[in-house]
C-alpha cells in the first residue's frame, strides 16, 4: 500500500483530549496516518468519532477546553506541534495546509464581498499587491466554475447559492496552491445533485495541484468515488486503515462491515430491510477498558472487555484494530 512517493504529512499517535468537568473526553486517541501528494485519504466515521477534531488538530485550531496532548504532526520534516503560533498563521494555515468547511452558508464573512475575501488571503500569504491579487482572484473564481467571475467578484456571500459558495470557499482554499487540502464534509450541506459537481471539482483541482487531500465524510459513496486510502474512526480511535479497494472488497473490522452493510446498492431488491448497527456510538468520556465498539459488536469476545485491541496488520497494507480479527474469527 505504501506508494513510492514520500508522504507530505505524517500524523503519528495524535492525541487530542477535552478536559471537561465530567472527565477527560478523548476525542482523538492515538491516531496515526500519512498522506501523499496527489492522493486522497478519506476519514470515515459517525458523528463524534473524532474526524473533525483530527482535522482541526492538524491546523492546531483546537480551542479550550480541548488540547493536543501528544503525538507528532510532521509536515515535510517539521513537527507542526513545535512551531510557534505566528509560524502557524504565517506559513502553515491557509498557506501550505488549507481547509474547506462543511457549511458554505456560514463559512464566508457576510460583511465583505467574496472577491475581497479571497484576495485578502492571497495578499496575506503571497505578498503580492492588490491588483495582482484581484487578477488572481478572478482567475480562481473562473477556475472553480463561477460564471461572470469579474462581476461576481463584487458580490456578497448572500448573493450566492450554497453550491456557488462552496466553490468560492474552494477557490479561497486553493489560492495559495497548498500542499495539503483538508475538506471537512464539504458536500454534506449541499443538494445531492450539486454534491457530485463539487466533489468532481475538488478532485480535479487537487490532482491538478498535486496536493494531498484529507477528505472527511460519513458518506461511503463519496469514499468509493474519491479515496485512495480510507481510515475508519470509531470513538476517537482508528479501527481500520486500508486502501479503498481492499476496504470495500475485504473489510475486517465488524464496525466497517456494519457500515458497508448499512448502505444499499442500486441493485438491491426493493423489499430488503436496511441493515443498521444496533446501539449508539459511545461518548468517549471516562471510557472503560476494552474495545469501545464491544457493546454493539456481534463478535465480542471476553478479551474485548479487558483491553483495547491494537491496530494490527490483517494483511499487507491493511490494518484493523479488533481482537476477533486477531483471533481469526472475522473471516467472512
Amino acid at each position: 500500500m505504501t506508494p513510492a512517493i514520500e508522504p507530505i504529512l505524517r500524523v503519528e499517535d495524535l492525541r487530542t483530549y477535552f478536559n471537561l468537568r465530567t472527565g477527560v473526553l478523548k476525542a482523538v486517541d492515538g491516531v496515526s496516518f500519512t498522506v501523499e501528494p496527489g492522493k486522497v485519504l478519506c476519514i470515515v466515521g459517525e458523528s463524534g468519532s473524532g474526524k473533525s477534531v483530527t482535522a482541526l488538530s492538524i491546523l492546531r485550531l483546537v480551542d479550550a477546553p480541548g488540547s493536543i496532548e501528544g503525538g507528532r504532526i510532521l509536515y515535510r520534516d517539521t513537527d507542526l506541534l513545535d512551531l510557534s503560533e505566528a509560524q502557524m498563521t504565517d506559513r502553515i494555515r491557509g498557506d501550505r495546509i488549507a481547509m474547506i468547511f462543511q457549511d458554505p452558508m456560514t463559512s464566508l464573512n457576510p460583511s465583505f464581498t467574496i472577491g475581497e475575501q479571497i484576495a485578502e488571503g492571497i495578499i496575506a500569504h503571497q505578498r503580492v499587491g492588490g491588483d495582482e491579487a484581484r487578477i488572481k482572484t478572478v482567475e480562481l473564481l473562473r477556475l472553480v466554475g463561477i460564471p461572470h467571475a469579474e462581476e461576481r467578484y463584487h458580490d456578497y456571500p448572500h448573493h450566492f447559492s450554497g453550491g456557488m459558495r462552496q466553490r468560492v470557499l474552494i477557490a479561497a482554499a486553493i489560492a495559495t496552491e497548498p500542499d495539503v487540502l483538508i475538506a471537512d464534509e464539504p458536500t454534506t450541506a449541499l443538494d445531492v445533485t450539486i454534491q457530485a459537481q463539487i466533489l468532481r471539482l475538488l478532485a480535479d483541482l487537487q490532482r491538478g495541484l498535486n496536493s494531498a487531500m484529507i477528505l472527511i465524510t460519513h458518506d461511503l459513496g463519496v469514499v468509493a468515488a474519491m479515496a485512495d486510502k480510507v481510515m475508519v474512526m470509531y470513538a476517537g480511535r482508528v479501527v481500520e486503515y486500508a486502501d479503498v479497494e481492499t476496504l470495500f472488497s475485504n473489510p475486517q473490522h465488524p464496525y466497517t462491515k456494519g457500515l458497508l452493510d448499512s448502505v444499499l446498492g442500486l441493485d438491491a431488491p426493493a423489499d430488503v430491510e436496511l441493515h443498521s448497527i444496533p446501539g449508539l456510538p459511545p461518548v468517549p468520556v471516562n471510557m472503560p477498558a476494552g474495545c469501545s465498539f464491544r457493546p454493539r459488536c456481534s463478535l465480542a469476545l471476553d478479551v474485548c472487555a479487558q483491553s483495547f485491541p491494537e491496530l494490527r496488520e490483517a494483511e499487507p497494507g491493511h490494518e484493523a484494530a479488533c481482537h476477533a480479527v486477531d483471533a481469526g474469527l472475522a473471516r467472512s
Binding site: T89, T106, F112, V138, E150, E151, H159
Partner: protein, 296 residues
C-alpha cells in the same frame, strides 16, 4: 496597466465609499427614517447657525413676561423673564443635541473596546469586566447619571460625563453578547484556518459583524439621552442660567404651567420630536448596515 481586467462595474471611487453609497440608497428607501434624518439635519443646522438665525438674544428680555405666542412679535411667545422662547429654543438645541450625540458616541466607542475585549479574551478578563459592569447595572440609568452629576460641579461637561458613564454598561453588554455570537460563527473559524492573525480576525471578521446592531442601538439611545440630559438639566445638574438646554427650559416653565403652558410646551415638543427622530433613524440604519439589503 492595460492588463488589469475590468472588475465588474467601472470603479472610480474606493470600495468603502461604494459600500457607503449602497447603504445610503437602502436607507433612503425608508420613508420615515429618511424624513427623520432630514428633520434632524435641519434641527442641527438651525442649532449650529443659532447666532445667525435666532431672532433675539436668548438671554435678554424682549417682551412681556409669559406673553403668549404671537404677541410682541415673538412667534413662540416669551418666558417668565420675558425672553424669546424661540431664540432660547434654537440656542438650547446646541446643548441638547450635544448632550444626546457626543457622550453616546463616546460611550459606544468605549463599549466596543470593553465588550470585544471581554468576549474575545474570555475567562477571567471577561468575568472581571462583566462583574464590574453588573455593579453599575444595579443602579437605574437615571439614578446612575444623577449620582455622577451630583459628585461633579453642575455644567454641560458633567452631564456629558454622567451620560457617558451611565451608558457604558448597557452598550458593552450588547457588544459582548454580539461578539460571543460572531466569535463562534464558522467564518471566524474558517478565517483562522486560512491563517488569519488575531488582530486581522478582530478587525475584519469580528468588529464589522458586531458593529451594525451596536450602531442601531446607539442611535436609538441618542434620543433617549436627550431626554435623560434634559432630565438632568431639569434637576439642575446641567448648564447653569441664563443658558438653558431644552430640559432646563421645561423646568423654567413649570411654575407658570397653568398661566403660560407654551413656555414648557415648545421645548417639550422639541425633545420628543428629536428623540423620536433618532429612534426612526435607528430603524432605517438596521437595514442600511445589513449587507443583505444592498443591491448588486
Amino acid at each position: 496597466m492595460t492588463d488589469v481586467p475590468h472588475l465588474g462595474r467601472p470603479r472610480r471611487v474606493p470600495a468603502f465609499l461604494e459600500t457607503f453609497w449602497a447603504s445610503i440608497v437602502v436607507f433612503s428607501r425608508h420613508r420615515v427614517s429618511f424624513t427623520a434624518l432630514i428633520f434632524l439635519i435641519l434641527v442641527a443646522l438651525v442649532s449650529i447657525l443659532a447666532p445667525v438665525i435666532a431672532p433675539h438674544d436668548p438671554y435678554v428680555d424682549v417682551g412681556w413676561r409669559n406673553s403668549p405666542p404671537g404677541e410682541d412679535g415673538l412667534i413662540l411667545g416669551a418666558d417668565g423673564d420675558g425672553r424669546d422662547v424661540l431664540s432660547r429654543l434654537i440656542w438650547g438645541g446646541r446643548i441638547s443635541l450635544l448632550m444626546g450625540v457626543v457622550p453616546t458616541l463616546a460611550a459606544m466607542l468605549a463599549s466596543l473596546l470593553i465588550g470585544v475585549v471581554a468576549a474575545y479574551s474570555g475567562r477571567w478578563a471577561d468575568q472581571v469586566i462583566m462583574r464590574v459592569l453588573d455593579m453599575f447595572f444595579a443602579f437605574p440609568i437615571v439614578l446612575m447619571a444623577t449620582v455622577v452629576a451630583g459628585i461633579l460641579k453642575p455644567g454641560l461637561a458633567t452631564v456629558c460625563i454622567a451620560i457617558f458613564i451611565a451608558l457604558i454598561p448597557y452598550i458593552s453588554r450588547l457588544v459582548r453578547t454580539t461578539t460571543l455570537t460572531v466569535k463562534n460563527e464558522p467564518y471566524v473559524e474558517a478565517a483562522r484556518s486560512a491563517g488569519g492573525r488575531g488582530w486581522e480576525i478582530l478587525s475584519r471578521y469580528i468588529v464589522p459583524n458586531v458593529i451594525a446592531p451596536v450602531i442601531v442601538y446607539t442611535t436609538t439611545l441618542m434620543g433617549f439621552m436627550i431626554v435623560l440630559g434634559s432630565a438632568l438639566g431639569f434637576l439642575g445638574f446641567g448648564v447653569q442660567p441664563p443658558a438653558a438646554d431644552w430640559g432646563t427650559m421645561v423646568e423654567e416653565g413649570r411654575v407658570v404651567l397653568r398661566k403660560a403652558p407654551h413656555v414648557s410646551m415648545f421645548p417639550g415638543i422639541a425633545i420628543v420630536s428629536v428623540a423620536l427622530a433618532f429612534g426612526f433613524i435607528g430603524d432605517g440604519l438596521r437595514d442600511a448596515l445589513d449587507p443583505r439589503m444592498r443591491g448588486r
